[in-house]
């Protein structure tokens, strides 16, 4: 964690009216800028060209199974929280060709797919999503097998983070230790401050490129009030967060509760639609589809986002090994919150809350985990309270 003193030496302020200088500087460096924008009644990440494209004055109201945009009473550019989907789609695309084979005469030729390097600036990355990118990096590049395509796509991405100064309705990053403050993995980090008569950003560098970009912007050295004001806003966000999970020994908790009846209760509601996995910034599973042309002389191997909620996902000879709804929901949740620790040395959840918001019937992981903890036979607090009776 950074201390105020450290920040003090680095931080600058940039006024809202000068914010477009950031776009200019990025464009000059030939970055394509991806950031939040308002579309289809929601805030999504897409190509943005200037601050006009940002969702100025918009916020979203999120709760389990529902999201509505609403007007803020100010003109904040980043006054919302988690978007419909994360940055995953840019570094781990929903559908991609892995290779192709063609046969004109003789032996079929294998044509490998060349992943393109992309020079992208991610503008407005939240702490949870940045943590999620760190997890995807681990999964795809920091294991015995490296996903070359991922490495190439990820290699030239500039991250401009934004600290959260309010929490969304389904956020629980504080419980997962990933936010609301951004602590690492960024090139530039900002905190947006909207006061009655002043709208500005407290900005810090996180890398050499970040530093160079900041130097080009009309800025002033941040004073202690500005810095502490920004920090206080972020701290308040943390304490005001609506949802939480108690993660104490969560791996053991979930492992010993594989037969907890809560799974069966939840199965009454779960649609196995897969939305939760699709919107999750760390869910990385894919399926392979081989597509031939009618002559059988050309074939493409496609890789597409998949979900552990489909039957095919666990299909082996003779059938799917997770035919029941409860076994699929349990698989997802226990992998994400427990087995992930063994596999990747981290939780698979960053607390962004998307799976809660975008579940069509509003199933809430925080509620499910709490229910499992409360009905856990080994839960010391429950045993205690029983003894007290």
């Amino acid at each position: 964690m950074k201390t105020s003193e450290q920040s003090l030496s680095n931080a600058v302020t940039i006024e809202r009216k000068n914010f477009d200088a950031l776009f200019a500087s990025l464009i000059k460096r030939e970055y394509q800028i991806v950031g939040p924008t308002q579309r289809d009644g929601a805030i999504i990440y897409d190509i943005v060209k200037s601050s006009n494209d940002l969702p100025e004055g918009w916020a979203e109201e999120q709760n389990a199974g529902t999201m509505r945009l609403k007007r803020r009473n100010d003109k904040a550019l980043f006054g919302f929280n988690s978007t419909v989907q994360s940055w995953k789609k840019f570094i781990h695309p929903p559908s991609q060709r892995l290779w192709q084979t063609k046969q004109s005469s003789g032996k079929p030729a294998i044509i490998p797919e060349k992943s393109k390097k992309q020079k992208l600036a991610f503008l407005g990355v939240r702490a949870c999503d940045l943590a999620a990118m760190g997890i995807l990096d681990k999964v795809f590049t920091d294991s015995p097998f490296t996903d070359t395509g991922y490495r190439i796509r990820r290699s030239d991405i500039l991250v401009i983070g934004v600290n959260c100064t309010q929490a969304g309705g389904t956020c629980f990053c504080a419980s997962m230790n990933t936010g609301p403050a951004i602590s690492s993995g960024y090139d530039i980090v900002m905190t947006e401050i909207v006061e009655k008569s002043r709208h500005y950003f407290v900005v810090e560098k996180g890398s050499k490129v970040g530093e160079e970009i900041i130097k080009e912007l009309p800025s002033a050295e941040a004073n202690v009030y500005e810095i502490e004001g920004a920090e206080e806003l972020v701290n308040k966000t943390s304490s005001a967060m609506g949802r939480k999970i108690d993660t104490t020994n969560i791996k053991e908790l979930l492992s010993r509760n594989s037969e907890n009846q809560r799974w069966q209760q939840n199965a009454q509601r779960c649609l196995t639609c897969g939305n939760c996995t699709m919107v999750c910034p760390t869910c990385f599973c894919t399926t392979i589809e081989d597509v031939t042309d009618l002559t059988g002389r050309e074939a493409n191997r496609m890789r597409k986002w998949d979900s552990c909620f489909t039957m095919d996902f666990s299909y082996i000879h003779g059938g799917s090994i997770r035919p029941s709804v409860y076994s699929r929901y349990r698989q997802w949740l226990t992998h994400k919150f427990a087995a992930w620790h063994d596999q990747f040395g981290t939780s698979g959840c960053v607390g962004c809350g998307r799976c809660i918001t975008w579940c069509p019937v509003g199933i809430d992981v925080t509620e499910e985990i709490t229910a499992i903890r409360m009905s856990d036979k080994n839960n010391p607090s429950i045993t205690l309270s029983k003894e007290n009776k």
Binding site: D40, G65, R68, V84, S95, R269, T272, V291, L294, T295
Partner: protein, 258 residues
Amino acid sequence: MKTKAKPKLAVWKFSSCDGCQLSILDCEDELLAVAGAVHIANFPEASRAVVKGPYDISLVEGSITTPHDAERIHSIRRQSKLLISIGACATAGGIQALKNFSNVKEFVSIVYATPEYIHTLSKSTPISDHVKIDFELRGCPVDKYQLVEVLNAFLNGRKPNTPHYSVCIECKRRGIVCRMVGHEQICLGPVTQAGCNALCPSYDRGCFGCFGPKETPNTSSLAEFWSKKGMGKRDLIRTFRGINAYAKEFRLESESHE
């Protein structure tokens, strides 16, 4: 490699709107390739010329609604090596299966001047209720890419990529903002099989369920969710009783609200 004789393809029609056959014609770009890969031996929507059977592949559109249909499908089966039923009518009875929930005799006596001329069965049923089928391709109409994919797979001796998961998966891959969560619309996507590439949600409408129930559809959860939001029984019945009204899981769900 010696060129083999091209497989003979026949297209058959039963009670239907012809929309699925039109999907074949709609495959403009792919049609030439299809025509190049198979010998189109019988395709009433495209040509009157008929080549006698047997056929390697029969695509069957439409549902069985008359005693005559019920006989004809057996003769088609006998002439076909592979029989693939295409579309909601052929795979679930179609929209005309709405009659299955009422008394047909009453309709007939009200609608037709000479009811004796009407020879209709009491139910509209899918092809698979009458003969063994080799593959069912869902949709109302079928998706042209899936149709080419299925032909393609059979011609190349591989499994077709026609997943049984939800429309939501396609919806999310396309980055569409959920019609339910983001817009409080009624959407059957979470219980409907993918295949259309989330067509309706991409045009700001909830899914109508054209591709029928997905694998393990939890229709009762969705119905309960909507009824808690204030949807009445009548609307619940109508939501599940649409193009795929007679598909088992949708039928049971609509019946449970009667």
